[in-house]
């Protein structure tokens, strides 16, 4: 069996200055820009069109900015180590390239771990909307945000809608003034007074829906990148032995994708957390 020789598989085409794979990955990234572009447009359209009060004034009211800053640093570092891996290959240092690649992989993993803690925190944080105002901590409020106590009955989901059924009652510890976990007294709210109850998951509000969808899709891109990097960590040696040039090119393409994924985060961070 023989294989067909594809022109410009390795050597750049004089017109574009790129080998096929690099040109292909740029085109793929163009389509990715349209994908995330559509999501950013969705964000803009929904937020601009929303009545006052439906969206938080700043994302930082709900989200954890220090953790996200840490994640930004981790991801930018991983972009640097990715380039270092490619640079090492260009200098024919396969061993150090694989080390840099491994560090990139670990950074990506660290990013996801931080993201896991951020997500979990949201899923254990609740909001209760009330039919009529009631006094909590000396104020009349129409909604209470906080954590459900251990003796609060377990919430059940409606089979039809997937949303939480309104329980007989809940016992909730309201948050402090700046969104910190409250140390105030737990409040018992009867089910008859509850209009709606939700955790800070995607269904909570358009803002969190956007947050979870965009960061979720971005997270999937990270996972995809990690699979590719892991593949090259495992079988890179074999490809390098067969054709160093081919392996270098593949790492370059992986790097382009990886920088793009980082870049998406560079936009997501201010748009979702700071604005």
């Amino acid at each position: 069996m023989s294989t067909t020789v594809i022109p410009h598989d390795l050597e750049p085409h004089p017109l574009t200055g790129m080998y096929n794979g690099k040109f292909g990955i740029w085109l793929f990234l163009a389509s990715e820009i349209m994908l995330f572009g559509a999501l950013f447009s969705t964000y803009v359209l929904l937020r601009v069109g929303a009545p006052p009060g439906q969206w938080p004034a700043h994302g930082s009211e709900i989200l954890n900015v220090p953790l996200a800053t840490l994640n930004t640093a981790v991801l930018i570092s991983s972009s640097v180590t990715m380039v270092m891996s490619w640079a090492a290959l260009k200098m024919k240092k396969f061993g150090s390239a694989q080390v840099w690649l491994t560090i990139t992989f670990l950074c990506a993993g660290a990013f996801l771990v931080v993201k896991y803690f951020e997500y979990t925190d949201k899923f254990h944080h609740y909001q209760v909307w009330l039919n009529d105002p009631m006094p909590v901590g000396g104020h009349e409020v129409t909604t209470i945000k906080g954590h459900l106590t251990a003796d609060s009955p377990k919430l059940e989901c409606s089979e039809k809608t997937g949303a939480f059924n309104i329980p007989e009652y809940v016992i909730i510890t309201p948050d402090g003034d700046h969104g910190s976990s409250g140390h105030g007294e737990a409040v018992r709210v009867e089910g008859s007074k509850i209009k709606r109850i939700s955790n800070f998951g995607p269904r909570h509000s358009p803002y969190l829906a956007t947050y979870f969808t965009m960061t979720g899709l971005h997270g999937l891109h990270i996972v995809g990148g990690m699979v590719v990097i892991l593949y090259f960590m495992l079988v890179g040696g074999a490809i390098w032995k067969r054709s160093p040039e081919k392996y270098t090119n593949r790492i370059e393409c992986t790097g382009l994708y990886w920088h793009f994924v980082d870049l998406v985060w560079i936009f997501l961070f201010p748009v979702l957390y700071l604005l």
Binding site: S31, M34, P206, T213, L217
Partner: protein, 585 residues
């Protein structure tokens, strides 16, 4: 086995070295993948058509049992053989989805593009053969996913092929399967379009500059850019609708929504149903050009060959098609004039819609002028290509009143709209696909299709397809609304009901008219007249390869010396100068 022969390393033998499953199933050869796409897409085309034939029965004879097949349909679709409303809706939605995403695009781009484009640019294969195989199999999985939705509880998606929320968000789980299927189909198209663009730009043969590319390649290149850039927003929209359905978000659900007289207080609201329409049509308008551009490309090739003349205005054609591609991204909201998005936006999109009609008319004009003064060969591919011209003209020109906000008020959501886009896609694109199949069949199999059966296919098809769609214009102008399960309520015995029956009979007769094609296709594959590599005496590079082309395509890497349509060059012994043959002074 006495003598040892060392001749089996010739190009022709590569294909035979592979085991069956590598050669015919998980093949990386662009030609085999093109054939896989073509066959799969033709099957889906037939299936989508069948759905419509059943719906046409309900329209012509509402409440009567469907003959022959009614008894075999499940109770959710047809009770006692009578198509039920939900079944009608599901069939309608799936007819649209299957025809657009599973039949015509895969046929035009996956089938013809895969087979012909690498040959026409003189490449041994696609730039990424494995990716090419993957895009076929992702498409196949998407198709299977769509089909399985007929068998799940609640039936297939029934919210129209446009899947407008909130309806689609409240719909049964068939809609979720539809969304998952769409994600697969979109992924397949993306992989394919990357492959097409890289192949066209990077792998052109020596001497094949951009302005020597056959028009078909240009059409495919622009189409690929449309697929590449327009599909991702629909993928995003699909993800958002999945979130609305599965995670309870409210991207498309407005505040204060009431469904089945129940206030939807469990959801946050704050979404926008119009947002879906914007994202959907941002894809689906370029999609219209994805459907029509490859058809224009095929028709151009067939016309150039069979008029024995260069295409009239080749550069105008190329510039028009590029401009069409660009403009197709900024006309989408002319599908949304009636949604109350505002007169300012409507006016903008009305203006761009009028602008985009200009390049379409230029393309059509160039193709018609190409016929002027030619001694035309009226073979089957040429008949289909010639029929394409007036049919596409009718389809295109009837679109103008829909693009003007004032006349759209009356025509929106009537049968006029259905007539309009089916004229573009059915006697337009599908006829061009038939032209392409008859035209390139000798290249794929080494045998010609029967001319007699071909003409027996063409003439009835041409007549009956007009019988199907022409009445819809009159019905639409009379105000008959589309997507109705039972039209008699609205028509109550008016003349327009007779036209409904006429359309239905047209559809069933059209199905009969496809029998000669099916017979011809299989008969000619094995028993057709054997022909040499260039039976139409054509100029473009695919005819320089042997028929059928072996793995790797060309015996010797072609070099291009001239433009794509050098027919009837004065002072030459032959009336055609192939691109790969150096012209003597």
């Amino acid at each position: 086995m006495s003598g040892h022969h060392d001749h089996s390393h010739g190009h022709h033998d590569h294909g035979h070295d592979l085991p069956f499953w590598r050669k015919y199933i998980f093949s990386v050869d662009h030609k085999m993948i093109g054939c896989q796409y073509t066959v799969t897409a033709l099957l889906f085309l037939f299936f989508g058509f069948t759905l419509m034939m059943i719906m046409r029965w309900q329209l012509a004879y509402p409440g009567q049992a469907i003959p022959f097949i009614g008894q075999y349909l499940s109770k959710d679709i047809a009770a006692d053989g009578v198509l039920v409303g939900d079944g009608y809706n599901a069939f309608g939605a799936m007819h649209g989805t299957i025809m657009v995403f599973l039949a015509i695009v895969p046929l035009a781009v996956g089938g013809f593009g895969n087979y012909v484009l690498p040959l026409q640019v003189g490449a041994p294969d696609m730039a990424f053969p494995k990716l090419n195989m993957m895009s076929y199999w992702v498409y196949f999985c998407g198709g299977v996913t769509m089909l399985t939705s007929f068998f799940i509880k609640g039936g297939a998606a029934a919210s129209g092929w446009t899947s407008y929320p909130p309806l689609s968000v409240f719909a049964s789980s068939g809609q979720t399967v539809w969304l998952l299927g769409m994600v697969l189909l979109i992924t397949s198209s993306l992989l394919g379009s990357v492959n097409f663009i890289v192949t066209t730009v990077q792998m052109r043969a020596k001497g094949l500059s951009f302005f020597r590319l056959p028009f078909f390649v240009w059409a495919q290149l622009v189409t690929s850019f449309l697929l590449l850039l327009a599909f991702p927003p629909l993928e995003a929209a699909g993800v958002l609708q999945l979130m609305d359905r599965l995670a309870g978000t409210s991207f498309f659900m407005p505040s204060g929504l009431v469904f089945s007289s129940e206030p939807q207080t469990h959801m946050s609201g704050g979404g926008s149903p119009l947002l879906w329409q914007h994202l959907f049509w941002f894809l689906a308008h370029p999609e219209v050009y994805v459907l029509i551009l490859p058809a224009m490309g095929i028709v151009s090739e067939v016309i150039a060959t069979n008029t024995r003349k260069p295409l009239w205005g080749y550069k105008s054609l190329v510039y028009s098609v590029i401009f069409l591609g660009f403009m197709s991204f900024i006309v989408w909201a002319h599908h949304m004039f009636m949604t109350g998005m505002g007169t300012t936006l409507s006016t903008f999109f009305q203006a761009t819609t009028m602008v985009i009609s200009v390049p379409s008319v230029i393309v059509l004009t160039c193709l018609i002028l190409s016929l002027y003064g030619a001694s035309i060969r009226y073979n089957t591919p040429m008949l289909f290509a010639l029929a394409f011209l007036p049919m596409f003209a009718i389809g295109g020109l009837t679109g103008l009143p829909l693009g003007l906000t004032a006349s759209d008020i009356h025509l929106h959501d009537t049968y006029y709209v259905i007539g309009h886009f089916h004229y573009v896609v059915a006697p337009g694109t599908i006829f061009a696909m038939f032209a392409g199949i008859y035209y390139w069949f000798p290249k794929v199999t080494g045998r010609k299709m029967s001319e007699f059966l071909g003409k027996l296919h063409f003439w009835p098809s041409f007549v009956f397809i007009n019988v199907v769609f022409m009445p819809m214009f009159f019905q639409g102008m009379a105000g008959l609304l589309r997507r109705q399960y039972d039209q008699t309520e609205q028509l109550h015995g008016s003349i327009a009901h007779g036209l409904t029956k006429m359309s239905s009979y047209g559809a069933w007769l059209l199905a009969l008219a496809q029998l000669p094609f099916i017979i011809n296709f299989f008969y000619s594959m094995f028993k057709g007249r054997k022909v040499d590599a260039n039976p139409w005496e054509s100029t473009t590079l695919e005819w320089a390869a042997p028929s059928p082309p072996p793995h790797g395509n060309f015996d010797k890497t072609p070099v291009v010396y001239c433009g794509p349509y050098e027919y009837s060059v004065p002072g030459k012994s032959k009336d055609y100068c192939p691109q790969h043959v150096a012209m003597e002074a």
